[in-house]
């Protein structure tokens, strides 16, 4: 195996900038790795070898011309298939978009390309980002590189598996209720959900508009921070994008790496732990608190009494918004069309297409959301759930009076077996218990590896106040500097 694939994104960029490796060599090494292991991992839905080599050649040409390269120039990246990429298939993991090649780039796609980052391909995901295991992909499941019989988390499971399996040093995920943080946790990598509005949603195929947020995956906190600064920033094409300076997350990651957390107050959320959490997860979490204390942080307990309503509120808001967002998939303008035989009416063709094109979880949520928004139920469901969001945001505000950041396990469980929970939606939904509050409040949160339980990675979630993403990175990097790298113990994948 080429050493090039083992480098961090920061080191890869430095090697290219110094001429120790060409961007083409780096891209080819990753394409070779994908060829070698993706038959087992199945992280990718589409690999764009030609485009990747061309992008890498452009970086090499710029270097040859004497240009100063941008911080991540030449570094390969795997893109979640929910992000629109011009000319490259984009399916959101659904059959209803099979074969669709978008005529435009998402804002983050454009920013990634402009940064000289090399897009290797599009990664697998739960259909329309609905799920916590990537088993809801309409194409195939993705396998956790730690144990191929287990799930890589979801919905961004292709992106997390690709980074954990050294198929790419960086990837993009999207997080609606935990879809970056939980996959990062169960694959032993770093994943950050930025403050809502910090990263443009233009070109993200919408699941739940008021919750969706794209963010970075990396094997180190610094790598995630470097990618965060590429994709974040105001975008006039997204009205909900914040017109504010980008949080200084790279500087925070570098500061954190010094391992000094003196004066930092860390709040442990009483409601995110205890019953229902695997013992190994709780042990790793307790050990993480000791580590943080050892770095000089003050550990306090905080209470967020409304977090217990997060799951119920989330499973009204997200389905409600998705029932509307997914209405556009009607066979008229793009994507799948079923039953257009001249005999069926337009309405029939729309119904047949949606019947054939959407998977069971997507249908379940469309039906729940349609019901929740219907006349006479709106106030009791969607309206009430929005009030819960306000209460959760107030819980956060109160907790951040007592602490600079809040911590919890990222997920109550380590990676479970493929097929183990598919028949029980509730068992699947509680994967998101710890990640939902930050999603509903729009606050930033990161997951960093914090040890192993039964040989499988456990994640530590670090939550910060709105717009204070840098705190996640600072505390995350400090913690990372104090513990043995979890990925060092990932089993070697063989052909």
């Amino acid at each position: 195996m080429s050493d090039l694939i083992r480098l961090s994104a920061a080191d890869t960029a430095a090697a290219i900038a110094r001429g120790e490796a060409s961007a083409v060599e780096v891209a080819q090494a990753h394409l070779d790795r994908i060829s070698a292991v993706d038959g087992q991992v199945r992280a990718f839905l589409h690999v764009d070898a030609e485009g990747a080599i061309a992008a890498a050649q452009a970086v090499d040409a710029r270097r040859a011309a004497g240009e100063t390269l941008l911080p991540l120039a030449g570094v390969p990246l795997a893109m979640k298939d929910v992000v629109v990429t011009e000319g490259l298939p984009t399916t959101a993991g659904s059959k209803i978009l099979e074969g669709w090649r978008p005529p435009y780039d998402a804002t983050i796609t454009r920013r990634i390309k402009d940064a000289g980052i090399v897009i290797l391909g599009k990664t697998n995901m739960d259909e329309f980002a609905m799920g916590s295991s990537t088993e809801n992909s309409a194409y195939h499941p993705t396998h956790n590189p730690w144990d191929l019989t287990r799930i890589p988390g979801g919905s961004s499971g292709g992106s997390s598996a690709a980074v954990a399996a050294y198929e790419a040093p960086l990837s993009i995920g999207t997080d609606t209720g935990g879809s970056i943080r939980q996959p990062a946790a169960v694959t032993g990598i770093v994943g950050h959900k930025p403050t809502y509005g910090a990263v443009s949603r233009y070109g993200l195929i919408a699941f739940s508009s008021s919750l969706d947020q794209a963010g970075p995956f990396g094997r180190t906190v610094l790598d995630a921070a470097l990618l965060h600064e590429v994709i974040a920033g105001h975008d006039r094409c997204d009205s909900t994008s914040l017109d504010l300076p980008v949080a200084p997350v790279v500087a925070a990651a570098r500061e954190g790496a010094t391992g000094d957390l003196r004066g930092v107050r860390i709040g442990v959320v009483r409601e995110l732990g205890g019953e229902g959490y695997q013992a190994g997860v709780l042990q790793s979490f307790a050990a993480a608190l000791d580590t943080l204390r050892g770095l000089g942080a003050e550990i306090v307990e905080v209470s967020c009494p409304h977090f217990e309503y997060a799951l119920a509120a989330y499973y009204l808001i997200a389905p409600s918004e998705c029932s509307s967002n997914l209405a556009r998939f009607d066979s008229v303008r793009y994507g799948l069309r079923v039953g257009d035989d001249g005999a069926n009416s337009l309405e029939d063709v729309m119904s047949l297409t949606r019947e054939a094109g959407f998977g069971p979880e997507v249908k379940r949520r469309i039906i729940i959301g349609t019901y929740a928004l219907s006349s006479g139920y709106y106030d009791a469901y969607y309206g009430q759930a929005q009030k819960v969001r306000t209460l959760i945001a107030r819980d956060f505000a109160a907790a951040f009076e007592q602490a600079d950041v809040l911590v919890s396990p990222t997920s109550p469980f380590v990676a479970f077996g493929i097929g183990e929970r598919v028949d029980d939606p509730m068992a699947m939904y509680i994967n998101d218990l710890c990640t939902l509050p930050a999603s509903l409040a729009g606050t930033p949160a990161i997951s960093v590896p914090c040890g192993l339980s039964e040989g499988l990675p456990v994640g530590l979630q670090i939550m910060a106040p709105t717009l204070a993403d840098e705190r996640c990175y600072r505390v995350g990097a400090a913690f990372e500097s104090a513990v043995a790298p979890v990925l060092a113990s990932i089993p070697e994948l063989t052909r």
Binding site: A92, S239, S375
Partner: protein, 495 residues
């Protein structure tokens, strides 16, 4: 049994209300940068946003907000300090997203009124709300029926999708009695003038840029209001009046037979003036309105609103009152000039020195005819009030006949030159040289011996042909009455 309108109004009282959709005259669409120009090749004014492509997001057109506020102010509405867009969900192939971005319970403008005058009486029309939304695309159903049911195939043009629409909803208007149709028409006429005055829409009804839905109900005097029907597809001023009248008579016939009125949508036929049933409200769609999560609330600054209020142009009602004083014409005359869109032109012509009657005759006569031929508004014809005043002066002092003055107008329209230049260049002047006229008369008589004989034989009207010949010979520069007198004298005929 066919009731006459007067029969009905002797026994029933009508109540009407109007929902008017107006396309704003913004350069770009409501939520994207595409052009709003009418008549382009199908689907050329489209982009990912107005095609509803996956991932695309709307951004509000600020000019549309400004226009809406101006309309609200002109209609004496209160302007909301905080207003939101909402999604109206329903499936239809001309709707790219299968939801329309509209406003629901938080419109930008509400609680206003406007006064209209019919036959000397002023009626106050209450305004319930003014809100913003986006237009849909346009379907063309190919096949014998011309409707979606039974069409061979259907074509969709999304050029119109996303064009900013304003919906202006009146409160129910009772108390207009037999004049209800006229009051309805007068309201829409006033609205049209007001929108043009504000410069927010050019209101080309023939292009569908103003469309009305008319609600009508009947009740017995002193009784509660009856069940209303909603007549859609009412797209001209004349049709507004006809639709109210038709529906009043239709409902009265049913009530007379002891039947109840069904609350339903009816479609108006421009060709027959009839209404026919559409879908009934009982099976109406549940639109599942919810706040549009892709847009931030519209919160217009109070100072901005006051600036807009201070800069409103003189509104039609005030201008009409002022012009009526200036012109001293009857209400009917004023109405006729208003309908022809020439009040300001007549006023300016009078200010430039022409008598009112002459100014009115020019703008309502020859110039209106020219504008009609050229399919432009009189104001855009290319003849200024000052030029018309000059023509009137030249006719008054005998330099030009009316015929010559019309030729001068033609010259102005053809060359863009001023009146005096056209008159000089074309040698337009009344020939008052009797000798020249006598010579021309003799030539005409000699050239048309048959006609001359008829005249001599007592068929006086035949002299017209000879007058025409002389006028032609003198290029219209003679006074026709003088020519006639000379001809008769030389033919030895007395009247």
């Amino acid at each position: 049994m066919t009731l006459t309108y007067d029969d009905v109004l002797a026994r029933y009282e009508p109540v009407f209300g109007l929902e008017t959709h107006v396309e704003l005259g913004t350069v770009s669409k409501m939520f994207c940068g595409c052009s709003t120009e009418f008549g382009a090749e199908p689907n050329t004014h489209t982009c990912p946003v107005c095609l509803g492509l996956p991932g695309a997001l709307p951004v509000v057109n600020e000019t549309a907000i400004e226009s809406t506020i101006k309309i609200g102010l002109a209609l004496n509405c209160s302007i909301a300090a905080w207003s939101r867009f909402a999604r109206k969900n329903y499936f239809y192939p001309d709707m790219p997203k299968n939801y329309q971005i509209s406003q629901y319970d938080e419109p930008l403008c509400s609680e206003g009124y406007v006064d209209v005058e019919v036959e000397g009486t002023t009626y106050r029309v209450g305004i319930e709300r003014v809100h913003m939304e986006e237009d849909t695309g346009k379907n063309t159903h190919v096949g014998t029926s011309g409707r979606i049911h039974g069409a061979e195939y259907s074509l969709v043009d999304f050029n119109r999708a996303g064009i900013p629409l304003i919906e202006i909803v009146t409160k129910p208007v009772p108390g207009a009695g037999r004049l209800a149709p006229e009051v309805a028409k007068a309201y829409v006429t006033l609205l049209r003038d007001l929108l043009r005055t504000l410069g927010v829409s050019d209101v080309r009804m023939e292009q569908g840029s103003l469309r009305c839905d008319v609600n009508t109900s009947l009740n017995l005097p002193g009784a509660e209001w009856g069940t209303r029907t909603e007549t859609k597809n009412v797209n001209s001023l004349r049709s507004v009046e006809r639709a109210v009248r038709t529906e009043i008579v239709r409902q009265a016939e049913l009530l007379d037979q002891g039947q109840r009125i069904i609350q339903e949508t009816r479609h108006f036929s421009e060709t027959t003036g009839d209404t026919r049933p559409g879908r009934s409200k009982e099976e109406a769609t549940d639109y599942r309105y919810f706040p549009e999560p892709d847009l931030v609330p519209v919160a217009p600054d109070a100072a901005w609103i006051e600036t807009l209020r201070a800069n409103l142009p003189e509104l039609p009602a005030a201008r009409r009152a002022r012009m009526r004083d200036v012109l001293g014409v009857s209400a009917d005359d004023m109405q006729a000039m208003t309908n022809a869109g020439v009040v300001d032109l007549v006023g300016a012509t009078v200010e430039a020195g022409a008598p009112v009657a002459e100014a009115r005759n020019w703008w309502m006569g020859y110039l209106a005819q020219k504008a009609n031929e050229r399919e432009v508004d009189a104001a855009d014809l290319g003849v200024t009030p000052a030029q018309v005043a000059r023509l009137v002066a030249l006719v008054a002092d005998g330099s030009l006949s009316v015929t010559l003055a019309r030729q001068a107008v033609d010259g102005v329209l053809e060359t863009g030159a001023d009146v005096d230049a056209v008159v000089a260049e074309r040698g337009l002047k009344v020939v008052s040289d009797t000798g020249a006229l006598e010579t021309a008369a003799d030539e005409a008589i000699a050239a048309n011996p048959d006609i001359a004989e008829k005249v001599r034989g007592g068929k006086l009207p035949a002299v017209g042909a000879l007058v025409g010949a002389v006028m032609k010979a003198t290029r219209g520069q003679a006074d026709a009455a003088a020519v006639r007198a000379i001809l008769l004298e030389r033919l030895g005929v007395t009247e």
